[in-house]
């Protein structure tokens, strides 16, 4: 029997120099009988529209798991001895049965940590939370100042988060989490975030921006610059275990000593995601068919998905390291984040796009074709459509077949009276040509000029 001095190790503690590094990591690489914890997005509904939302949340999905189905999942997690669930969304607290489900989980020995923007954390909710040992709260804030935060999370969201933290602190809840996604804009605010956490008796939690969900659209302008990554790494090393990271910066370990935590990609091995409709993905940042393992509504439920999914079996197979194998830092970073690679179009067995040895930048430059797109979008529909969409205003011809929805169905030529509107979009000035229906539309809506212009050239297909 080989003994190591850290036979009993506490996660988050820095491995002692004398231990065999990576030993535990090797065990976990092959997967566990049940997740240590998992992320459970309870709803895609959200009052906010954060530009980097990893689940493209906004609107509730009508297929959302019912209260009874959620309770059945909790029963399974209890049987599997999953220690706790990280509940998120969307904004989980907008589910009417949110508190009922939290109570049900803790009564069944499944701990709860939930992430919220704070919208429902008034004094009464804060007092209720302060009274429970089994519930932890993470308040999301992505800027120490309103200007930095609200640019990403939306107007008023900074004030909402601070009010929630004030309520938790007043209720005597100590050690709740202030959770920050690190961006190019907020890395200069690291000390300011720490000061906010200290002010409310909270613990700071910093996590990595992933190009997942709507994050794929903004990643290139929001992700930290190379020199900022170094600043972040040094700051994390200096603050050690005072600051949580959800193990999300293990790609930075290639700078030198490992950061506290497991330092491996736990996807399908020690963690996974259950989404609002019960789909089980390898990781919360990988909502894509490539990483879909099954659904809790399938026969055998979540336990069967975890134990028998082909996808998870393949993730638990020893990995070769691929293009990174020859790199001297592979044992530190293990090739980085699978989701970050996938949604930036990089091969999964190559370097992370933010590889601190600089291999990511050259790999990104060599990407041919387009990166895979997030496949679900529950975003609010308040913004103007980005592409031309058919609209149905004025005369409408019935489709030639019941199932034929093509706007061009049955057309042989545009009616002469409308031909002047058929100019290509780039030909100005559309508004000077605005026909009477266009003016009527503007009077009715009174806003969204951009939207009108797009409508003006899609309309020509129809009328």
């Amino acid at each position: 029997m080989t003994l190591t001095p850290d036979m009993a190790r506490v996660a988050g503690s820095r491995p002692a120099a004398s231990t065999a590094p990576g030993k535990l990591t090797d065990l976990f690489q092959l997967g566990l009988d049940a997740p240590i914890c998992l992320t459970w997005e309870l709803t895609y509904a959200c009052n906010l529209s954060c530009v980097h939302c990893l689940s493209s949340s906004g609107r509730r999905d009508p297929r959302e798991l019912s209260t009874a189905e959620c309770m059945a999942v909790i029963d399974t997690l209890e049987r599997m001895q999953v220690f706790y669930v990280n509940i998120g969304g969307g904004e989980p607290t907008v589910r009417p049965d949110f508190w009922e489900l939290v109570d049900y989980a803790t009564a069944h020995h499944v701990g709860v940590k939930f992430s919220t923007n704070g919208v429902k954390l008034g004094p009464a909710a804060a007092a209720r939370l302060a009274g429970s040992d089994y519930v932890d709260v993470q308040i999301s804030l992505d800027g120490a100042t309103a200007s930095v935060n609200d640019a990403v999370r939306g107007p008023g969201s900074h004030a909402t988060a601070l009010r929630a933290m004030e309520n938790l602190a007043s209720a005597g809840f100590r050690g709740f989490k202030l959770s920050v996604v690190m961006t190019r804009q907020n890395i200069p605010q690291l000390d300011a975030f720490k000061a906010i956490a200290d002010r409310f008796g909270a613990q700071l939690r910093l996590t990595r921006l992933r190009p997942s969900g709507r994050g794929a659209d903004v990643w290139h302008s929001l992700h930290p610059l190379a020199e900022q990554q170094r600043v972040l790494y040094d700051w994390l090393v200096a603050h050690g275990e005072q600051v949580l990271t959800g193990d999300s910066f293990f790609h930075l370990s290639a700078y030198g000593s490992a950061l506290p935590g497991l330092n491996l990609c736990g996807a399908g091995r020690v963690v996974c995601l259950i989404d609002p409709v019960g789909d089980v993905y390898a990781c919360p940042f990988a909502i894509h068919p490539e990483f879909l393992a099954g659904n809790v509504r399938d026969a055998g439920g979540f336990a069967a998905v975890w134990k028998t999914s082909d996808l998870f079996a393949s993730l638990r197979a020893p990995d070769t390291g691929g293009a990174c194998r020859s790199c001297g830092f592979y044992d530190s970073c293990r090739g980085g984040c699978m989701a970050a690679k996938f949604f930036t179009g990089l091969p999964l067995d190559g370097p992370d796009p933010e590889c601190v040895q600089g291999h990511g930048e050259s790999a990104l430059a060599a990407v041919s074709g387009v990166a895979p797109k997030p496949w679900l979008d529950h975003s609010h529909r308040t913004a103007p459509a980005r592409t031309a969409v058919p609209v149905t205003i004025g005369r409408r011809r019935p489709p030639t077949h019941d199932c034929d929805e093509s706007p061009l169905a049955g057309f042989t030529a545009l009616p002469a009276a409308d031909a002047r509107h058929a100019a290509p979009p780039a030909s100005p000035p559309h508004r000077a040509l605005a026909p009477p229906w266009h003016q009527r539309l503007r009077r009715r809506n009174g806003r969204h000029h951009d939207h009108e212009r797009k409508a003006s050239y899609t309309q020509t297909f129809l009328s």
Binding site: A8, V10, A11, G111
Partner: protein, 75 residues
Amino acid sequence: MRPEPFGALLYHFGTRRLSFLKNQRVLAVVRSLADHPSARAACAAAGVPDAELPVYARALAVLADSHMISERTVA
């Protein structure tokens, strides 16, 4: 405490910390602590050689520091 092929996982709901028992023998020691008058006796019963006692003592100290195990209270 959740048994695993390599040993066990321990989670403390109060401190929200996770610990790992990295082999079956240390798991046997931890499981039987309550049944023995001392940690040394628990180690002996689990077959820990004397030469390895300091290693086990350190492991148990780590668990005690993180409140995973605590001194028994006399009823």
